[in-house]
Symmetry: C2
Subunit: 467 residues, 2 copies
């Protein structure tokens, strides 16, 4: 048990050096000279008998009369604190007896081996510092493994809700996902960009735009960095941006947000086949990374991530229409493929990640490149799907001004409003292709969470603007 | 010269394997089966006599009659292409003769050692593929080392402007800066967050807010993630966000933007002294990283970054007021320290990075924690300065609801409008401290660029909403 104690406790309270404790007569709720004890993960030192300072919030309390058990949770783990009347001062015992869940505190105490405790160890309190008292009982239990409490109740106290293990795990996985994406793209020679979110013109039609007062003018919130990232391929070739996008979605669904995080990638001198290959390798890296770094979180969520086999299956749009018609669905070539209808396809290669390629040109935005002469009614485009959920959309883009103007006119767009964009096409825009991944959609696929709001820290939708 | 050729050319055109060239009868301006030749940086293989495909844009053209010199620039370097009438086909010679700067193309050709060329090598063209013809001459020279052309002319064609070496270097340094910040924070145990940009209530007063139509309601663009990042310390302890912030600045200066990139950091169980230490170590890491990874860019900008000595000098606000009064400035305790007045201080410790600490409580936002009893007119706050430029602002925050309410009332804020924020303070918000760094301000300090618009890809200000 001793080695388990060492490993688990060094993990749980993480310390470099035990700092000299200068305990002074400060107000009880101030940090003062108190600092959390830090061990490095690597130092294999037995903590038994050592004095430590644990800082965190009270996740459970058990009152056994002359013995009080509290669990202090910090971002590493849980630490059990045991106050026995016979082992601690009256003041400390009283303080602990009066605690309430969610109270944030520091405990200075001695470590003792304890097989029954979560980490094989417990802390005997010598002194407490209450930083912030919980004044109310939270309307949900932090221990609950499910998300069954009504989401609105939880979102109204989101920061408290986020203390729950299941959401902690979701956002640790989110962190790994973002890190892995950047690492992957930077290693592939991509440069990070940030483009304006306040824009003069709608990129892809004006139906779902949020208008802004921009000083004395009207402006809009960007639905995507599309045109900017395309322009920037002429200066930097390979670019990526991870940032917010804004869509005034009028619908109430479990897969739409008014504000989402988009992973936008654009590359010069490649086409949509190269970009699909880049995207599937990126997804594969993310899955590998999560398996490696988030095994505890996967356990907490009861998840086992599938092995990713590359390449992902590729289904052409036209083939899927044929298949759907063959099973009796009323759908015709040119229609969109809704999640509802996609669920009816019995193809087992569509039970994980797959691509739908070569969409009708008419259903895709003006900047998507039609296939070569004779096949222009199809375009060099793809959607990356996870089951019936759209994760990403990408394509080869048009890089010649005349072609772009023609497509804009066909879609009834006011080409003059795009002058600031079109004018750079007079100066040698390279062939390029790219994609945008909805981070929250990807997280739904990775974590098996069904409501997009639960993979978002503070979701925005037609009904919700706070917190 | 041969080894120089090897090193420089492998660097400049970067290839893994020479791909089989399947040249088919495609439209001249399509990518088709053509792909850029890639070598890895490490493979020390002489390219002399090898066939390569170079892709990029034409940065210079010299016409010597029977010999045409063009320089093709890609994101790695420049490659000289030499077309002699005696060495290439008539078609290729004619194509090259008709080129214009900024045209984007691919050149299939043979590598030859050439001491006079920039990389000690040149390419003899066998075939050209013109991707995108430049239809006009750009209103500025890409070779120009200065930014002297009027910024509005350049911003109107920003993507073309960004092809210039000096701006390429600035944005390579930006890329390194962002990467280093994330690496540093992740290693310190920070988790990445993204918080909403559409919000219901102003964080720090309403003077410089952009209003939005949020469906049927009024909302605002976030001036900072302040309240969200503070809340999230209760769930994740150490958090950071790198994202856009929006301020309807009415002024026209070289140091203000309407949309900027903010690096927001917040940490639980520490105070402003810990956070100043974290921030100065972060800056030191950034400088070290740029020196290591961007030496070419520093050369291009004619910059030598100073050695960073830690800790940065710390000057208290009150001491600076005394010093300013001593040199005859008309300033009184409680006034803000303007860049104009700061320039008059003769202190040489203020010639690089330094902190101004312990500001008057009254000039700082409501969430900044006053110092302990008896010194409440000062607060636990700091600004990080670079000469007279403010780079960052930070503080210990108030973590108790009653204290927060008191400060809000003193500042005349409507506490009800902050209900969604205040309510989480009933559940044990830990002591915490944090800072926000203006990325563009930091880049001005690092690159010695004087106009903040030039360290921003697509700047926004009171006059400019496009491109």
């Amino acid at each position: 048990m001793l080695s388990a104690l060492k490993v688990k406790l060094t993990y749980s309270i993480k310390l470099n050096t035990i700092q000299a404790l200068k305990l002074s007569e400060l107000k009880q709720d101030e940090l003062g000279q108190w600092r959390r004890t830090h061990y490095s993960y690597e130092v294999n030192v037995s903590l038994t008998g050592r004095e430590v300072i644990v800082m965190g919030w009270v996740s459970t309390i058990r009152d056994h009369g002359n013995t009080q058990f509290i669990v202090v949770r910090d971002r590493y783990s849980d630490v059990q604190v045991v106050a026995k009347k016979s082992e601690c001062t009256e003041q400390v015992f009283e303080q602990i007896r009066q605690l309430r869940e969610h109270t944030t505190l520091a405990v200075r105490g001695k470590v003792r081996s304890q097989q029954k405790a979560a980490n094989g160890a417990e802390v005997i309190p010598l002194e407490l510092k209450i930083f912030s008292i919980a004044k109310k009982a939270a309307p949900f239990l932090v221990q609950s493994k499910t998300l069954s409490v009504g989401i609105d109740t939880r979102l109204n106290l989101r920061a408290v809700d986020l203390r729950r293990n299941v959401l902690q795990s979701v956002f640790h996985i989110r962190h790994t996902t973002l890190n892995t994406i950047r690492d992957f793209l930077v290693k592939q020679g991509f440069i990070e960009i940030n483009t304006p979110k306040m824009i003069a013109t709608a990129t892809e039609g004006g139906a779902t735009l949020f208008p802004i007062f921009y000083y004395d003018r009207e402006a809009f919130l960007a639905q995507s960095p599309q045109l900017y990232k395309e322009q920037l391929t002429m200066a930097f070739e390979n670019v990526f941006e991870i940032g917010p996008i804004f869509r005034a979605e009028p619908s109430r669904t479990n897969r739409h947000l008014s504000e989402a995080t988009s992973i936008d990638v654009e590359q010069a001198f490649v086409d949509y086949n190269d970009i699909m290959s880049l995207l599937e390798r990126m997804i594969s890296h993310i899955v590998d990374s999560i398996k490696e770094k988030n095994s505890n979180d996967l356990d907490c969520l009861g998840l086992e991530l599938p092995n990713i086999n590359l390449p992902f299956p590729r289904h052409s749009y036209s083939n899927l229409i044929n298949k759907l018609q063959a099973i009796g669905e009323t759908i015709k070539w040119g229609d969109d493929l809704s999640p509802q209808i996609m669920k009816n396809l019995p193809d087992e290669t569509m039970n994980a990640f797959y691509f739908i390629t070569d969409w009708p040109t008419a259903v895709k935005p003006f900047y998507v490149k039609p296939k070569s002469v004779g096949s222009e009614r199809l375009c060099e485009s793809f959607d990356l799907m996870y089951r019936s959920l759209e994760i990403s959309s990408g394509s080869t883009r048009i890089n010649r001004k005349d072609d772009l103007l023609e497509r804009m006119r066909k879609q009834g767009l006011n080409t003059q409003a795009f002058d600031y964009h079109l004018r750079v096409f007079d100066y040698g825009v390279p062939p390029h292709a790219g994609f945008g991944v909805g981070l929250e959609r990807l997280l739904m696929a990775l974590t098996a969470i069904e409501n997009i709001r639960d993979v978002t820290l503070y979701p925005r939708d037609i009904d919700r603007l706070t917190p």
